[in-house]
Subunit: 200 residues, 2 copies
């Protein structure tokens, strides 16, 4: 059975892909792109290093613009990002009967609540999976076992989260300062391959 994993190139979504593959699913990694900046490239590179099939999930730029408006109005990104994530899940469900992401127990955004998950599964006749039962300690431990990971400051070139295209639009329309206030610089982990001793 095919399974789609919404994929950023980070540890969490990479681990979800490994779990599903080891359970026998035919895993395809999807990275959403709204057509304003090619932020999918970093995730495609991580996917290729791990040997997974990767696809770009083309979404309408109007979705991104809606999320940006929400974020500028709110003054914080949570609701806008959650909105995008729900829409992207729905898009993925058009072509897959199982859609997963790497949301873990201690994640706050993007995250669907129980009612949203039930509604998503029922109205799209899809199975949805995440890592809500797994905490960062376990995921870090497994990531160290499986993956070669680089820690680095997030840039426009090395990250495939929704943040990148959102920042692109906000920087263009409101300036770099507004973008930096909404998305402060941070350090990220990016998967760049398997650990040498790890079974592929």
């Amino acid at each position: 059975m095919k399974a789609a994993v919404l994929y950023s190139g980070g540890k969490d979504s990479s681990l979800m892909a490994v779990i599903l593959k080891r359970l026998g699913y035919e895993v395809e990694l999807l990275t959403a792109n709204f057509g304003v900046f090619p932020s999918w490239k970093s995730a495609a590179n991580s996917a290729s290093c791990l040997g997974f099939k990767h696809r770009i999930l083309d979404a309408k730029s109007s979705l991104l613009e809606g999320a940006v408006n929400m974020i500028l109005k709110d003054g914080f990104p949570n609701n806008g990002i959650n909105h995008l994530h729900r829409e992207v899940l729905r898009l993925a469900a058009e072509n897959y009967s199982l859609v997963a992401d790497g949301t873990r127990r201690d994640d706050r955004v993007p995250k669907l609540n129980s009612a949203e998950i039930q509604s998503f599964e029922d109205s799209n006749n899809v199975q949805y999976l995440n890592l809500a039962g797994w905490g960062h300690k376990t995921i870090n431990h497994l990531s160290q076992q499986f993956f070669s990971v680089v820690k680095e400051p997030t840039s426009m070139e090395n990250n495939s989260d929704y943040e990148i295209e959102i920042r692109y639009l906000i920087t263009r329309d409101e300036g770099e300062d507004t973008a930096c206030k909404l998305f402060p610089p941070h350090i990220q982990s990016r998967v760049i391959g398997w650990r040498e001793d790890e079974q592929k």
Copy 2:
């Protein structure tokens, strides 16, 4: 690394064991027993059919008695069972640095909330995992792929849930009727081996 899975012989805890094994953990299945009725036997049999190491987690009968008092006072089993589960997790954490169970997204009891999980992990220096990100559709699908399962009415002989020893005490002290009102008869799924075509 060793991982303990609290094990009933059902689909959910069996699947958690398979996931952890396929991620490289040395899995040991634990079934709690409070010394009043040998309800662990059914789980031990399922574990043996799947080829997993199985241990009985000996717990004090006073814990069970406390839970039974809570259940009789409440008039419903939820709080008593949750109480037992928290204490059993704590016992397991004395000997394992990773403790998992098969709690899935749509389970109600036993279930720890986020604060309880965080507190359990921190105060016992343990990693806790469950299947909170996985729903019944996915677990049923995987169970059909992996396991040979028998569906049958729950009896004192074919089930290793906390319910069995609780029922034993309530039947002894309050009579069969009270036990049946608190735990109405139901149909259960019990894992009795691998599917023939499944990789062990």
